[in-house]
Amino acid sequence: MKLRFLSLIAAAILLSACAKKPVETVAAVAAAPPPPPVAAPKPTGPAPDSLEYFNTVVGNLVSFGYDKYDLDAAAQSKLKGQAAWLKQYPARTLTVEGHCDERGTREYNLGLGDRRSNAVRQFLVAEGVAAARLKTISYGKERPACVTSDETCWARNRRGASTVQ
């Protein structure tokens, strides 16, 4: 998010630099033809209705505590953004994947992943997204995002991942 904002600024600076330079050139070489019209600065980055925008700007991941499935303030704020986006693009549907870290047994983690994906789904429904647009699937600990056996990676793996179709 921050990075993207920075790159927007960078792009804007570049554009303004381009806009200035020809003016100086014109001053130096009078015979030169007039410079082509400079296009107005356009916002770069993904189109707001794209999957990339959803995944990177809105944010498709929410985190959970160990053996937990409640949504903290950060998760709720992100899901409000997901709900707003879904309401803006009513043709889109969503699959919520529930994932777990490796510190649990396979079958229990399937149940826990199901809980997590449904916690996300129920929040989105409460925010006004039609239930029919939301599917869930639990992967338990079968599809980790990272494989290092430490708390940082385990925290990354305890996630609800929203996939837009």
Partner: protein, 445 residues
Amino acid sequence: MLKALTKILRAGVLAVLAVLLTVPPANAQVRLDITRGRVEPMPIAIPVFPGNTDELKQMGKDVAEVIAKDLERSGLFRPLDQKAFLQELTSLDVQPRFADWRTLAAQALVQGSVDMQANGQIRIAFRLWDVFGGQQMEGKGFGTDAANWRRVAHMIADLIYSTITGESGYFDTRVVYIAESGPAINRVKRLAIMDQDGANHRYLTDGSALVLTPRFSPTGPEITYLSYFRNIPRVYMFNIDTGRQEVLGDFPGMTYAPRFSPDGNGVAFSAALNGNSDIYSMDLRTRRMVRLTDNPAIDTSPSFSPTGDQVTFASDRGGTQQIYVMNADGTNPQRISFGTGKGRYATPVWSPRGDLIAFTRYASSDGFFYIGVMKPDGSGERTLAQGFLVEAPTWSPNGRVLMYFAQAPNGGRTRLFSIDLTGYNQREMITPQDASDPAWSPLSP
């Protein structure tokens, strides 16, 4: 005798089973009490089974080797080096010179033979001798197609094991498991099956769908397991003989954690709906379904008692995941795991003998996973194995050995191990690829 013959005919191993000579009652001298902690492995002499052609000679060598390896892996026997043998037993009718075998400190001697019969089948026969008493303890012959020699060797190993220990064997069995390959973040998982000694390995699925937690039917060539076929996690049935796969009913949510009832006619499993997992059982003949739990907790990993009267399962209804036992109709659930510290208990599996429940325990206090056993009332808890991640115990059909899998940290290897109920004799099961979720078959019919 007749019953055994019918069983063998039914299994397609076929043919004649003959008791050789008269078998006196097993001599009390040559007995192993395997219920008592660690036992000193019994020295046993297993010479090659003589044959009268090159082909039969090779088979006789292979049969003796398979028997010796089975018995050695059990941890209860120490097959002696054939090079030390003083007497060559050239046929099944040569009388052993017991004094020679006593010199080697052999307590038991296996004398065998491999012959070609007039009908084109081979006949593998053996006698089991008590070396000190000089008496035959057991003796049988098996007529079969040559291709079945390995299975006959396992059956002979089972007879030797049961004669000497008084318990039924587990060598003529198979293991179904999940073969793993590819990166840990996107593992390819396939159903695979092998004999309990790793022979006759083959894959049952192609890896295009994620598959998990296979379990053997106690009565037929069937497996129940979880498949993500078309990205919909559901319980499936798989017939090993025909390769036919079938989804177990149509449910609105995920179904998982299946396990057969002891008569093979039912499957208990978890079904998830709106984030809540409960346990159901289905009669495979009528497809009638009964709900066994109705609780906002995660209720999963059901496993029937061998009588079918009770079901043990895992639930976090008490705050953390613990083991419970209920009646098979879902009434009277009682928590049985309490543990000494803050442990989470999972994957309860009832022993085929009925006396114990195996489980996985995770202690967040020390960060280890454990495989253990406890009595069905929760008493007598014992730990058998521990590791960074050990999980999914499965019982040998005689309830004396557990198999489970262990995973190394940082997305490392997953491998199968077996361990005695005594906590001794931990062995790795060698598999072609990484392996998890083992399930032991019953003794082959």
